[in-house]
């Protein structure tokens, strides 16, 4: 199923006044496409995920999935959050079975399905462990298995790897791509990491902040598996960093009330410098 946001605006009430979080968002994710949203913190990219998940509603505009407006959460659109949000009282297996249990699947079926997805994320040996016994990376694997076990048409990921160390993040990014190639769900992946976005996505939406607006859309025409040093990727990252550089300065200026300058994000900086940055 494809996802479409049409002229979406979103405001929150804050101390009696409305704060505009998203302004005129027009966004599409084609069926089976892998799209990343990248932008500075506070730009409203998580709100876009919440709108598609049905956890929030737009102030105006339309959020359509498969051509139909989203009215609320649905197990055909599952989410992986930054903090795995596992149920601490359930074992790894129990967590992955959760949605299937809610759906009313018989015990044998849901166990078999849960085991299948736990194998997919390489956690077969940890099925009886509890979340408090797992590392951050393992928790995210469980969260991914839990969300995928429902075999969603739309798979939403909200900065899923942001809290992980660089190595774990790289491993999970590759595994996510492998899983995506297997089942080809429609993926919308939110990140503030430019390198992550360009490494994963078919297309990258660059979101600017306060209010969140779509600044640019970059199609990444690079075959997978992608090489980190691929010149097209580097050029793309460079361009996005250039666009976001002013954004990050803008956010910090508003927060700190002074002018902050980021030399790394300047258009003139060489790609080698830009590559090391995780905005």
């Amino acid at each position: 199923m494809h996802v479409e946001l049409r002229q979406v605006h979103k405001s929150f009430a804050h101390n009696g006044s409305a704060i505009e979080v998203l302004q005129d968002i027009n966004l599409t994710v084609a069926e089976g496409e892998f799209v990343c949203l990248v932008g500075p913190s506070g730009c409203g990219k998580s709100t876009i995920i919440n709108l598609i998940a049905g956890l929030e509603h737009p102030t105006s505009g339309e959020v359509l999935v498969g051509g139909r407006p989203v009215t609320g959460p649905d197990p055909s659109r599952t989410v992986v959050f930054q903090d795995a949000a596992l149920f601490p009282w359930l074992s790894v297996l129990g967590n992955v079975e959760f949605g299937l249990r809610i759906a009313g699947l018989p015990k044998d079926t849901r166990r078999a399905r849960a085991m299948e997805y736990l194998r997919l994320v390489h956690l077969s040996k940890f099925v009886h462990a509890y979340p408090h016994q797992l590392s951050g990376g393992m928790k995210q694997r469980v969260a991914i298995a839990r969300a995928l076990a429902l075999q969603p048409a739309i798979f939403l990921l909200d900065e899923p790897f942001a809290a992980l160390d660089a190595q774990t993040r790289a491993v999970l990014q590759n595994e996510l791509l492998e899983i995506w190639e297997l089942a080809r769900p429609t993926i919308l992946f939110v990140t503030h990491n430019v390198r992550e976005a360009t490494g994963l996505a078919d297309r990258v939406y660059v979101i600017s902040s306060r209010p969140g607006q779509i600044r640019d859309i970059q199609a990444i025409h690079v075959a997978r598996p992608r090489h980190a040093e691929d010149p097209i990727l580097l050029a793309c990252q460079h361009k996005i960093l250039g666009l976001l550089g002013d954004e990050i300065e803008k956010v910090l200026r508003e927060e700190l009330g002074e002018t902050v300058h980021f030399p790394e994000a300047q258009h003139a900086s060489p790609p080698e410098q830009a590559r090391g940055m995780h905005i």
Binding site: A53, G54, L55, P73, D74, P75, R77, T78, V79, F81, D83, A85, L86, F87, P88, W89, L90, F98, G99, R101, I102, A103, Y130, P131, H132, R146, A147, L150
Partner: protein, 252 residues
């Protein structure tokens, strides 16, 4: 670094006990009418062998078990109802808080008026003395589902009754368990108050009997037993349960 505080944690209560016993012994030697720890513990040991005392102890235990089971049913059931049904909360919410504010002993006279000087009156005292805190804690627990847990559950299709039983109730368990622990302590106090005043055969009634005849050493032996049971049940059951739950729920 890790071993030292652990060992210290184990030693501290022992040290405190030795210190307290020593102080008790010292004061007993200075004041002739004040019985020492050795004598009192010996007396307690002797008591435990007497059939009459055993039946009093068993009576107390039985009432406590029945009373506590009722407390669990009313406390958890009432708390879930209060948290789940807004109307019940509006009508009975302040009642539960008021219930929680009245000490167990204050219920004894009413219990006696309703049930006479009977075992039922004692059990009723336990119920009213301890159910309030469990109702309030259960209610609080089910209102404080972590928002992220709630969102994750909703994206996986959990709504209504399933959401309540598979998400809200388990999320409330740490709070319910801490309520159970407090309810035990409150119930145990209420039991003693109830037995003291109704003279239904039990530890509380024994306490009142030996006090009337001025047997200070027997009085101390009984109070020691009451304290030991209170501490033992709390430490061996509730504290452990609370710890296990807090670790699993990621709160410790």
């Amino acid at each position: 670094m890790v071993l030292v505080p652990r060992r210290a944690a184990f030693l501290k209560p022992v040290l405190a006990l030795v210190l307290l016993g020593g102080l008790w012994e010292l004061t007993a030697r200075l004041i002739p009418a004040w019985p020492g720890p050795g004598h009192v513990i010996g007396l307690l040991g002797g008591n435990l062998l007497k059939p009459e005392f055993q039946s009093a102890l068993l009576g107390s235990v039985r009432r406590m078990v029945i009373g506590y089971l009722l407390v669990m049913a009313v406390g958890i059931g009432g708390g879930l109802l209060l948290g789940r049904v807004p109307l019940v909360d509006q009508v009975l919410g302040s009642f539960a808080v008021a219930l929680h504010a009245i000490p167990g002993a204050a219920w004894v006279p009413l219990s006696i008026v309703w049930f006479g000087m009977t075992e039922r009156a004692v059990i009723f005292t336990i119920l009213l003395g301890a159910a309030g805190i469990l109702i309030v804690d259960t209610d609080t627990g089910i209102r404080e589902v972590p928002p992220l847990i709630s969102r994750a559950a909703r994206t996986m299709g959990a709504t209504g009754v399933k959401y309540f039983w598979f998400v809200v109730v388990p999320a409330a368990i740490p709070k319910i368990v801490s309520g159970l622990r407090l309810a035990w302590a409150f119930g145990w106090r209420a039991l003693m108050a109830g037995e003291l005043l109704t003279s239904v055969s039990g530890l509380g009634q024994q306490l009142s009997a030996v006090a009337k005849t001025g047997q200070l050493d027997q009085l101390l032996a009984l109070m020691l037993l009451i304290a030991v049971i209170g501490v033992a049940v709390d430490g061996l059951i509730f504290k452990r349960l609370e710890h296990i739950v807090r670790v699993r729920w990621g709160l410790a």
